[in-house]
């Protein structure tokens, strides 16, 4: 029993990072209808830049954290301007493929700059674990969970009350109508990429603190698909819950497969098996908008 409890708690922590990355994904999809296959690479680039600033340039963690966010914003604006904007209105396969091309480019940039070995972040938080329900939990896990809850709170309020957030929702709902009401669609698109890059970088930094960083970090981007499909591609709440649910489910599946059948590495595929089932039953997810087509 304790074994499964531990699995659930680990799942919640990893799931909260999935949620963060999913949040970036959903924000881009909501405002621009672009499916971003390079989300995982944005996570990786953020983690490496922060690592580089803290370890190689010896900056205090907070400074390098903020500089990383500035870097991600610059990167996002560049990407949106140069790569995504020329493809507005192109068929969906082109848009998907351009983000796949982008992910190859980012991956190659990271490997050319930092190599492929695992790099370890210097410990930022204390190492002694807290004890919760008789189980040890590292402080970095608690911080990860808390930080993603905080960011979700901030973004929910942002979309609900700030005029910029409302403008973004309006753009997502109907681009033409929003434009005729004086909303600058192009800056909204750029803004959504910036937010996505920032939350991904934060996810990357947290993850780097937990597991260390290597070139495989980009794989996380794939893990986000089950989470967003479960939650619904265009729902913030869905991204949050989807991430947590997938995190917990894949941990339990992994543990159960090892416990009962002695199968290893089931985690990698469990979330995708769940994904296929969700797609068959509820293609638009728990909270996604159902597209209705009539002739």
């Amino acid at each position: 029993m304790e074994y499964y409890l531990q699995l659930i708690i680990n799942g919640l922590v990893v799931g909260s990072i999935y949620s963060l990355v999913a949040l970036g994904f959903v924000i881009i999809f909501k405002a621009t209808k672009v499916v971003n296959f390079a989300q995982g690479e944005l996570v990786m680039v953020g983690a490496y830049v922060c690592f580089s600033l803290t370890v190689q340039y010896q900056l205090p963690f907070l400074v390098s954290f903020l500089l990383t966010l500035v870097f991600s914003i610059a990167l996002a604006i560049l990407v949106e301007r140069l790569i995504l904007r020329p493809l507005i209105g192109e068929p969906i396969i082109s848009v998907i493929m351009v983000t796949i091309g982008l992910s190859s480019m980012l991956k190659s940039f990271v490997q050319m700059t930092w190599g492929t070995q695992i790099q370890v972040f210097p410990p930022i938080l204390p190492q002694e674990p807290y004890i919760l329900l008789g189980l040890p939990i590292a402080p970095v896990y608690v911080a990860a969970f808390g930080l993603s809850l905080l960011l979700f709170g901030v973004f929910t309020l942002f979309f609900k009350y700030s005029s910029l957030g409302i403008a973004m929702r309006a753009t997502a709902f109907d681009q033409q109508a929003a434009q005729s009401m004086g909303i600058g669609i192009k800056s909204i698109f750029a803004l959504s990429w910036c937010i996505a890059a920032v939350v991904s970088s934060i996810g990357g930094i947290i993850l780097g603190n937990i597991n260390g960083i290597n070139a495989q970090l980009g794989h996380l981007g794939l893990k986000v698909f089950p989470a967003v499909i479960l939650g619904g591609l265009d729902s913030l709440l869905g991204a949050a819950l989807g991430g947590l649910i997938i995190g917990v489910l894949e941990n339990i599946c992994e543990g159960a497969a090892k416990d009962l059948f002695g199968l290893g590495g089931f985690k990698e595929v469990a979330s995708f098996a769940i994904l296929v089932i969700i797609l068959m039953i509820k293609p638009y997810g728990l909270f996604g908008t159902k597209e209705i087509e009539r002739v």
Binding site: M105, K107, S108, F109, Q111, M112, L222, F272
Partner: protein
């Protein structure tokens, strides 16, 4: 085909329907094949191995183009279907089944698996279908890795070189003729399927699925057929690959392979058979060109070889992005424009 010479008049309907209606086209094609057949006499085994890989890539790209370019069903799992064919053919031929039967068997297994993963396509479109095929890719990769008794797991599976009537195709030059034969057959199959009733149904589904349904196209049946045929040909490509490389491991059929097939059809031209061939050549040659570049620059910049592996991926991504932005219809369109230019040369109108 809209690229005929002007002044070409048909006297029978059969001739108008022909694949190569003009004598000029037939002559060009015959010359091309004559050169291709003579290749093994003049080229060394390294170049022949690249040629073989290109031919195998052509089958993969043409089959994906049938599914994605012609029928409009995006698949991120094509590399895994190639893998199913490779493992299927390898297991069958290790059981002692003759080469051609094993190849067809591998194709049949791939077709079956492809159709199973094609079932969701009735309810899902666009991004949702792309993600469900991505799931297929990852699930199949897991199976390759963990069905150890059948696939050899992470250690891989050795395969013998193909043998027909006691004649073993064990060198790059010998197997070239075999691969060329199968590739030409596969390309002919796809070209002709596009010209027939199911092919037109595929195009109708791609262009607008509801109108297609209204004019009596059975969406489910035709989508499944597209998935089945495409995966069958992918399986044939995989079977050839297994017999050619004589050793298969799960990493060969990863997500990266699926993405490079998609890149081939995008760079070549969606929905165009000729484009798939161009794309396969381009994407297979790209890393070889980079190798050549680094060896020739080795004296000037010796550090270059350390970053060549990640650089390949970056250049691949860059090519993909540049083509999507500047030439979304791919090399097939460039080819058409070039031909149109020479038709009128030296006049520009």
């Amino acid at each position: 085909m809209s690229m005929h010479k002007c002044g070409l008049f048909y006297t029978t309907y059969a001739r108008e329907d022909g694949l190569f209606p003009s004598k000029f086209q037939k002559t060009c094609l015959a010359l091309f094949f004559a050169v291709l057949l003579a290749c093994p006499q003049f080229l060394d085994s390294y170049v022949m191995s690249i040629l073989n890989l290109i031919l195998i890539a052509v089958i993969g790209a043409v089959s994906l183009n049938l599914l994605t370019g012609v029928c409009g069903q995006m698949s991120l799992g094509h590399g895994a279907f190639v893998g199913v064919g490779a493992y299927g053919a390898a297991v069958l031929s290790n059981l002692g089944i003759p080469f051609f039967l094993a190849l067809l068997g591998g194709g049949a297994v791939a077709a079956m698996i492809g159709m199973v993963f094609g079932i969701p396509s009735l309810r899902l479109k666009g991004i949702y279908l792309a993600i469900s095929t991505l799931a297929a890719q990852l699930i199949l990769e897991y199976v390759f890795l963990h069905a150890g008794s059948l696939t050899g797991g992470a250690n891989g599976l050795p395969v013998d070189a193909p043998e027909i009537m006691g004649y073993s195709f064990d060198t790059d030059s010998k197997i070239f003729y075999l691969i060329l034969l199968v590739t030409v057959l596969c390309v002919l199959v796809v070209t002709n399927v596009i010209r027939t009733r199911p092919g037109r149904a595929f195009v109708a589904i791609r262009d607008y699925h509801q109108s297609a349904e209204n004019v009596g196209v059975n969406l489910f049946a035709f989508k499944l057929q597209a998935f089945g045929l495409s995966s069958f040909l992918a399986g044939i490509a995989g079977g050839l690959w297994a017999h050619y490389t004589m050793y298969i491991t799960p990493e060969q059929f990863s997500m990266g392979l699926s993405i490079s097939y998609l890149a081939m059809i995008i760079i070549g031209g969606m929905g165009s058979v000729l484009g798939s061939i161009f794309g396969a050549i381009f994407i297979t040659l790209l890393p070889e060109m980079l190798n050549l570049l680094t060896t020739s620059l080795g004296g000037i910049a010796p550090d270059l070889s350390a970053i060549i592996v990640p650089m390949k991926e970056g250049v691949f991504g860059l090519m993909l992005v540049l083509f999507l932005i500047f030439e979304p219809e791919g090399l097939a369109r460039k080819w058409r424009l070039t031909k149109a230019y020479w038709k009128l040369f030296p006049f520009a109108y």
